[in-house]
């Protein structure tokens, strides 16, 4: 039924849903707030999980981190489904244009063959590392507590999958299916990749959602992205005439810049909550960072040779400085 309505001013009866008024005061709420706060069931849950009767269906106590209110872990990007997909769709347009540019000008073929080979050697096994990251973020979303913390992890997981797929397309463009096969073989067998693969597999058995957040999103990605996509691809490859690769991995560079702001915001709030949290975070970050650094050296060596040690050491320093800004001394 469609009737002709005159425009009339009607006084709203209330500003927002009760739970948002309790949190933010009696004023209109944003769509981020409506889509993120208190939308996970919290009380009177019916049954214990048959897969682990020791935990509740939504359980704050399956991590060693203790928060009075997990909804304090606000995402500074204020991503809810809509803003997230719109942002990624825009980036996808750019990525598509970059792929088309490289393809149409034959830029891949114009690269020195050695460089193209090195690029594939470094990047193809990372398809699998990105898949591991997808598994881990899906886990954090599934078992973590409170939508403000878990929804960005779902977005992160889908991003990880997207990155694995962009890398696959890059491989098909610069090499062919053989490039992907060779990358998988190296991931499974070559000595250079075994510390990283062990790191990823070890993460997959961590069932504390917040420790997993630290291991994957803080410690590993905090070194891998700036080292591989910054130091190796953007700096080293570009100087050697491989800026086509940088174009094809622009998404990864931009993505890391964007997402680390969210990761840092989460760390900052958790660390500020209590000394216990801060101590726990320091210990987790120190342990996992140490392992991540060791795992990255042989990978970076593929591109930088003897300079790898120094490059990784520099990045570890930068990483520590970054973490210190969140209130955690390393």
């Amino acid at each position: 039924m469609q009737i002709d309505l005159r425009t009339v001013a009607i006084e709203p009866q209330r500003n927002a849903f009760d739970h948002l008024v309790r949190r933010f005061g009696d004023k209109p709420a944003s769509r981020y707030q409506e889509g993120s706060y208190d939308i996970q069931a919290a009380e009177n849950l019916h049954y214990r999980p048959t897969w682990d009767p020791d935990q509740a269906l939504y359980d704050e106590r399956i991590t060693r981190i203790v928060m009075k209110d997990w909804y304090a872990l606000k995402d500074p990007r204020q991503f809810y489904y809509s803003t997230y997909t719109l942002t990624r769709a825009r980036q996808q347009d750019t990525t598509e244009a970059n792929f088309a540019f490289v393809e149409s000008r034959g830029l891949a073929a114009m690269m020195v063959p050695d460089l193209a080979a090195t690029a594939l050697k470094v990047l193809m096994p990372l398809r699998h590392a990105a898949w591991g990251a997808n598994q881990n973020n899906t886990f954090i979303c599934g078992y973590g507590y409170a939508t403000v913390f878990t929804q960005p992890c779902m977005y992160h997981a889908m991003d990880n999958l997207g990155i694995a797929q962009y890398l696959s397309r890059l491989g098909l463009l610069l090499g062919d299916t053989e490039a992907l096969e060779e990358g998988k073989r190296a991931w499974l067998n070559d000595a250079a990749w075994q510390p990283l693969r062990r790191y990823v597999e070890d993460c997959m058995v961590v069932r504390d959602p917040f420790e997993l957040f630290v291991a994957q999103n803080v410690a590993l990605d905090g070194l891998l992205y700036p080292l591989v996509y910054g130091r190796v691809v953007d700096d080293d490859f570009s100087v050697k005439g491989g800026s086509a690769v940088a174009m094809l991995t622009q998404f990864m560079t931009d993505w890391f810049d964007e997402t680390r702001k969210w990761v840092d915001a989460v760390l900052k709030v958790v660390a500020a909550e209590s000394d216990d949290n801060r101590t726990q975070l320091r210990q987790w970050i120190a342990d996992w960072n140490c392992r991540a650094a060791a795992a990255m050296v042989p990978v970076i060596e593929i591109a930088l040779g003897v300079e790898a040690d120094e490059a990784v050491a520099e990045q570890v320093e930068a990483f520590k400085a970054r973490i210190r800004k969140t209130g955690i001394d390393l």
Binding site: H46, A89, A109, N134, C141, G142, M154, T177, R198
Partner: protein
Amino acid sequence: MDMKATKKKLGMKERYRALTRDLGWEPSYQDKDAIFPYASYEGIKVHDWDKWEDPFRLTMDAYWKYQAEKERKFYAIIDAHAQNNGHLNITDARYLSALKIFLQAISPGEYAAHKGFARAGREFPGVGTQVACQMQAIDELRHAQTQIHAMSNYNRYYDGFHAFADARDRIWYTSVARSFFDDAMSAGPFEFMIAIGFSFEYVLTNLLFVPFMSGAAYNGDMATVTFGFSAQSDEARHMTLGLECIKFMLEQDPDNLPIVQAWIDKWFWRGFRVLGLVSTMMDYMLPKRVMSWREAWDIYGVENGGALFKDLARYGIRPPKGWDDAEKAIDHMSHQFMLGLYQWSFGTSFHSWIPSDEDMDWLSAKYPDTFDKYYRPRWAHIRKLKAAGTPFKNYGLARLCQCCQLPSVFTEPDDPTLTCHRETVYKGEKYQFCSDGCMDIFNNEPEKYIQSWLPMPALFSELGGDVGAWMNWVSLRDGVDNGDYDGSTDQQHFNEWRGLATSNL
């Protein structure tokens, strides 16, 4: 040199394989069972995850693009709806009861599905299955959010929406839907897929969304129509996934058949009970009706469900055990449930009402064998009481089914004059049920269902039966959110505002 010429042309399937399925690997530093600890305890045997057929081959680039397009349209429409007082286009404010129930009981289910699929998207040891589940996980989050956003504007003008988050966890009738989702999430990954992928997406979605969205369109609710249509292509993917999952289990090992059949029996009945709410919405709560619950059941239940089970028969699957009892209940359930809601309307955060003469004539026409015989006389009696100034109210303790959580208002399958009531004793405790279907579900897993949180006994044990304290606890404002629509603030406001917007003054 043209490198493209030397490249292999990948077909859709190989390309998808390269971009997705090939990403996984056999772990060697950790045991596979440690990585996927919940994959085997339900007894489902899978010999080869590679046999999984991807129900749709969607890569992230296409997903972002396609979904963003839909999101843009959706928010443009609901923004305009809010700006132009689109709520005044609805037939009348009685219609909103259906939306209030939806927001309190169904949207939280979308969120639960989101969490459950995130877990399934991690726990299945096959990449194809994982990715399909992950996409559904993010879609279901979308549904929860678009629904809240679409209804947010109604909340600014009408009662009953404001405390949906409190109602979700505390009020009695939402427990029907939430126990359904809690039940699914507390099961293992395979049963979860039958519960949500099959029962919710296949059996419920058509019966819930199609009539609900047409009801919204008929009643001028553009906001709801928009989220419904926007979700449709997601739901098509979800249904394909549910079906693929059942077939995969059945094809992997003959030992899986009895397990899957038992889940189908259970989840059909579980789903059917949730539909009690929907039947009432369709037959009573839409000022302008689309079709009766009976008609919807004939199309989406009998026809579509029949086709589905015919398709599954080649695997040895038979129609669910409760199918005949369901068929017998169709002509009764909406009336029985609405009569219940009306007498307990002091405790609902939405309005109910006595059907008008016109409503009752429609109901007799749609339910020629049952309405005039069993239900019109009861409404006539209730109407007389109201006219006499002694409206019918039941503050008594509703006996809730230990399994489906509905009050026992349903009758025996073969005797519509006799309330159906079943009882079982387990470890010295008595448990009550609304039907054989619910009692069977309990008997198969008593240790699970003795944990059910029953909202009515909770009122008595925790709040000492103090109805006022209970209302505070569920954030229900007495005399505003609840009771008869006739005389409610919603009614007054709607008539006044609509008068303003349509008069020439």
